[in-house]
Symmetry: C2
Subunit: 372 residues, 2 copies
């Protein structure tokens, strides 16, 4: 056998990591199907029926490349957000857009600030492009804004990642909190504001969109409230200058034609979105009541999931395993202090009831068996 063609020094040194183990992989490992899929914050309410219809129609025309300029969707987003076309870029989900941002702004060896235990896929990109992660501890289960800004100043970071509402805690800041935070950032640092869960949050959570602010890129997705995670489509809002740089490196024909059609239809169906958001709010309350009934605190959430504080990482791990053995897929946050929790996605009413039954069943043994 011939010798290998050498990969780059950077890739050779990268660890073998997988940001998330998929439920399908869990099923293949266990040989059993999962009965409740509540671990990836997918929407059990599906996409809008209008989006399904649009995707079906687009499937028949999938022989044609999708518009690489994503013109129709960008125009709809621009109109909805009150920005210009050149302030919008569409990507294959926020994951894709985060990768672009890291590639565009991070020199090898450069520092990047994020919260310890925040989005693993962002960290994956940073490490993959040779960046140095500066992780700031959560404070009272929320992103520690002053400490994040301090870290950006101290390390000369070019990028700072913040999710609002946050994943995996579910906590959120108000618009005015965020505006103060943005003002406190150094000029040479770009805030990647991941708003994947924004639709679930109270009014007044999102700061006004100001595309003249060169230091902020807003990231949105159709994966969560719009119920289209499998379609891989999201967008970024920001200064035209940043979008022009993305234009130099993005995969121009990268976004699926069916996804573009679905997202356009989903965006227009505001009534469906409102129903989903209302039902998710009910579901959060049910999970909170369930946890309360078992004497467990929950972290207040403005997302489509609730993090239930089960008392410690050992117990969380035991619970995840016990739930998995019963065919229930949930995840736990990866780092302290949140790893004392399990994170449960809001399902349909039926799924919530099924989860509650299994959780009540497995909780006593998990509580006893593992000290926390």
């Amino acid at each position: 056998m011939r010798k290998r063609v050498p990969v780059t020094h950077l890739v050779a040194e990268l660890p073998v990591t997988v940001p998330f183990v998929a439920p399908e992989a869990i099923e293949r490992q266990s040989g059993r199907p999962l009965i409740l899929r509540l671990g990836a914050n997918e929407s059990a309410f599906g996409p809008s029926p209008r989006a399904i219809e649009a995707m079906c129609a687009a499937a028949a025309e999938v022989a044609w490349y999708g518009d690489p300029e994503n013109y129709d969707l960008r125009a709809a987003v621009a109109a909805a957000q009150g920005v210009a076309l050149e302030n919008v870029v569409v990507g294959s989900g926020i994951d894709d857009l985060l990768g672009l941002a890291v590639r565009a702004f991070l020199e090898p060896g450069g520092a990047v600030v994020t919260s310890l235990g925040a989005y693993p896929t962002f960290n994956y990109h940073v490490v993959g492009y040779g960046g140095r992660l500066e992780r700031v501890h959560y404070r009272q289960d929320a992103n520690d804004l002053p400490a994040l800004a301090d870290a950006a100043r101290r390390t000369g970071a070019r990028l700072l990642y913040l999710a609002n509402p946050d994943n995996p805690s579910g906590t959120w800041y108000t618009s005015s909190d965020l505006r103060s935070f943005m003002e406190s950032l150094p000029d040479a640092c770009l805030l990647l504001l991941d708003e994947a869960y924004l639709e679930f949050a109270p009014d007044g959570t999102a700061p006004p969109i100001d595309v003249s602010d060169q230091r902020v890129l807003r990231l949105r997705t159709f994966s969560k409230a719009y119920g289209m995670a499998g379609a891989r489509i999201g967008y970024a809002l920001g200064p035209a200058e940043i979008m022009a740089d993305f234009e130099k490196i993005r995969l121009h024909f990268g976004v699926n034609r069916v996804a573009q059609a679905g997202a356009l239809a989903a965006l227009a169906d505001t009534a469906f979105l409102r129903e989903v958001v209302a039902e998710v709010a009910r579901g959060r309350q049910e999970y909170e009541a369930l946890a309360c009934d078992l004497g467990l605190p929950t972290i207040p959430s403005a997302t489509n999931f609730v993090s239930i504080d089960v008392g410690g990482p050992e117990r969380a791990r035991a619970l995840i395993a016990a739930l998995a053995a019963r065919g229930v897929f949930v995840r736990m946050p990866g780092a302290p202090p949140l790893d004392r929790c399990i994170r449960v996605t809001v399902g349909t009413a039926e799924q919530r009831a099924a989860f509650a039954a299994v959780f009540r069943d497995v909780w006593p043994a998990a509580a006893k068996g593992a000290g926390g």
Copy 2:
């Protein structure tokens, strides 16, 4: 307005380029719809009805992320190609996979060999990752294999791109030609063998797949004969070691769930594929007969397009414009010697007849007006 957050030196210096202007962009510019879309080598025969059915069904379940391991599709490809699961990686089309290969193997400043006028999106990736393109002239309208191998040796290239069958010429080499070529490559150079058009080529075009050969990565797509360009899905076949490196940098959840379902169904419908390939062969003959009738040579093609030699780049440009004015979208190759041609995708029988009528109409003026 604040100062910009600086992008990397590499990105700052990148030219603003778009590998391909889309037909949708042409329509927006002209304000007129295109009547015949024969410029992007899409399949006018669409995807298999079974694939459409699978995509429709998957659209209703698009709230769930697609399997990031693409297990079912990889298993089907592995079985069909007689390789192991770990020799297959699925990406968002060959474009995505080429980007991964460039990122994995190219150090900034490193040399990459390709033919002058070959695939622009590959060049886009190379430039985007700071590589140096070493372009080798076509020889008698085909890739010049000895000159490509020489260039790889001379420049110490880590990557060599070759499409077989070739785009935009349509020419192809046999399996034994390619095996000799592979033997002639330096050990430290990876051949990216783009086989996007392979299904249209005669038996004996593809060299046997040898995943123990560390110097070859085969690239396949569902965009062409399978009629799923808009779905963005393709795969690479190669050594497990390369796949393991891709695993460190690929976008794990990047491939659309609907596309995965469609590709799996498309792969199984071999009867449909055979029909498409047979009809495309008929279409090539029709285009050749049409050109012959007008006294124009064609380049022999093993693809779903025919390059018609119209006598020179000026004339080709004039024709492209004249055809566009009549709502016909075709492209011309970007560099000599092939830029004396227009490249016409094989459409349905009806589309071919419509193209022939318009082409006969505009040809005399274009032939007279532009000297070549």
